[in-house]
Amino acid sequence: VRATTSRLPDLKITIDYYNHYDQLCAQEIRRSNQADVWEERRVDPRPLAEGLYRMVQGEPRLLAGRRRSDGKLTFPLPLGAQGDAYEPVELASEGTLWSYTVQRFQPKTPYAGAQGPDFRPYAVGYVELPGQIIVESHIQAADPTRLKIGMPVRLTLIPFRRDPDGAPVMIYGFEAVA
């Protein structure tokens, strides 16, 4: 584990918002193969929080809750004491950008993403999933100034940070449909 920790500085790719999860994994495996401690670092990616999304045939699906009393959808899926009142529902993975902005300064705590010199501005927005709900999300965009309200977007996973055991921690996000 110590060896893992010492290698963390050259694994800053986890905080690069412009890399796809797949690219990350490919890079990760290349790096791992060169390392003598690769077994220790080959830890599966995990979500930022339990119950945020599930993987279905290799694709992420956001989880919302449908309130049993009136059928209203809410995201995220309520957990814990209020969870019984909701039935989990997978949300559509394509929608349209409802609004957006760019977070250009590093937020104070509890923000747990890249800090200090590693911080990069990131786009956030609301995405309308037709017939379901509007969800707040990170938006993955090479040039956020080119985002447009109404543009089609698709769900993806974005590396957010790395846990102490080396596992990449993933957050859901939306990106423009190519």
């Binding site: 929080a49 977070q103 609301y126």
Partner: protein, 380 residues
């Protein structure tokens, strides 16, 4: 039921005051309001007070005098000041009390507010993900509004330009230098489409009002604006509010629209009857959207009103005559009371250098997280 009047008003200048605690600034405001009315703390029957980051408001009591009066601490986010006024208004209107103080003060650390998700009933990941920022909410609300209603980025700049012009004329304002439109437009982008000069900053300050029943006011031989309407409303399904991980597709009214409607109804007045306006301008876009949400114009009409100078001092509908939050900063506990303080000065003809000639009616609206609005309508 009694009419309620504001017979005294005090303010500690907003801004940064390194040598003074928030509490010091609250004491200052109360003492100034008492002096304004020619009263002593011992005359006061009740108080409602609010502070978000500068301790308990009732810590004022040992400083002002332990007279044993009913003192209730009010906490309602950025609408704390508006909520304190409403509480004082009801206390007198009900006939239970004749004379009271509403006070708010605050002192925030520098930089944007940071909220703890658990305090808002939200999961921890929402804060960790960097999604829980009021600045993002305001930026996304105006971004969509601009798209739907054809408001330009320069309109945002015009709001800020006006704020700093008014602030330069206001003794209690923090930013007292005009800032050129070019500087505003080309300053650092904070959260697109809003630049640094388009956002207000958390700040420090205190404000206090003395409220009296009609009967008490006459007994004391005093005069003061009457509160004709006051209302607080919270969010409903379909309104777009700060700290919302999800929204319903079907849109609904905002708490500002609902509080505004209720206050107009109570006052028996409409937006066309108002002479001077203070509305929540957390950032330039908020002032633009709140112009419509409070009934002062149709959605999209703001662009022309701003370009024609209608909302400037000297225009037909002066808005945020003391520079608003943009020029005064936002000490959460005091901000809504500052708006009413400014309206009281305007209605008493004491707003030297920024006086709206012949102002008879004044409107204030303060908005706060997680989605509530407080409106007060005064008549000279």
């Amino acid at each position: 039921m009694s009419d309620v009047h504001i017979i005294g008003a005090g303010i500690h200048p907003f801004g940064r005051h390194d040598s003074r605690s928030g509490l010091d600034q609250g004491v200052f405001a109360v003492e100034q309001a008492l002096a304004d009315a020619g009263l002593a703390w011992g005359d006061i029957q009740f108080a409602f007070g609010g502070s978000s980051a500068a301790g308990n408001a009732d810590a004022l009591l040992p400083r002002l005098g332990l007279t044993g009066i009913q003192f209730i601490n009010v906490a309602n986010g950025c609408a704390t000041g508006g909520s304190a006024i409403l509480s004082g208004y009801w206390a007198i209107k009900s006939g239970e009390f004749d004379l009271g103080v509403v006070v708010g003060f605050d002192k925030h650390p520098r930089g944007a507010f940071n909220a703890d998700p658990a305090d808002w009933g939200l999961p921890a990941w929402y804060g960790e993900a960097g999604l829980m920022l009021t600045t993002q909410f305001f930026a996304m609300k105006i971004q969509r509004y601009m798209g739907l209603h054809g408001i330009s980025a320069e309109a945002l700049g015009l709001v800020a330009e006006k704020a700093f012009q008014n602030g330069a004329l206001t003794p209690h304002a923090w930013r007292r230098e005009p800032v050129g439109l070019n500087v505003i437009m080309s300053s650092e982008m904070v959260s697109d489409p809003l630049t640094k000069f388009m956002f207000c900053s958390p700040a420090e300050g205190g404000a206090a009002l003395i409220l009296a029943s009609d009967k008490k006011m006459r007994e004391l031989g005093l005069k003061g604006p009457r509160i004709r309407g006051a209302a607080v409303r919270t969010r409903v399904n379909g309104s777009f509010e700060v700290f919302s991980p999800s929204l319903e597709i079907e849109r609904g009214p905002s708490p500002t629209q609902m509080a505004s409607r209720a206050a107009y109804e109570m006052a028996g007045l409409g937006p066309e009857d108002i002479d001077v306006v203070q509305i929540q301008d957390t950032e330039s876009g908020a002032e633009i959207m709140h112009m419509a949400e409070n009934g002062f114009c149709a959605d999209g009409a703001q662009e022309a009103l701003l370009r024609d100078g209608v909302t400037r001092l000297g225009g037909a509908l002066p808005i945020n005559t003391d520079g608003g939050c943009l020029a005064c900063g936002e000490p959460v506990g005091a901000s809504g009371l500052r708006q009413v303080y400014e309206n009281v000065q305007q209605l008493r003809g004491r707003a030297e250098g920024r006086q709206v000639a012949g102002a008879r009616t004044a409107y204030s609206q303060v908005y706060g997280a997680p989605g509530l609005s407080a409106v007060a309508i005064l008549e000279a």
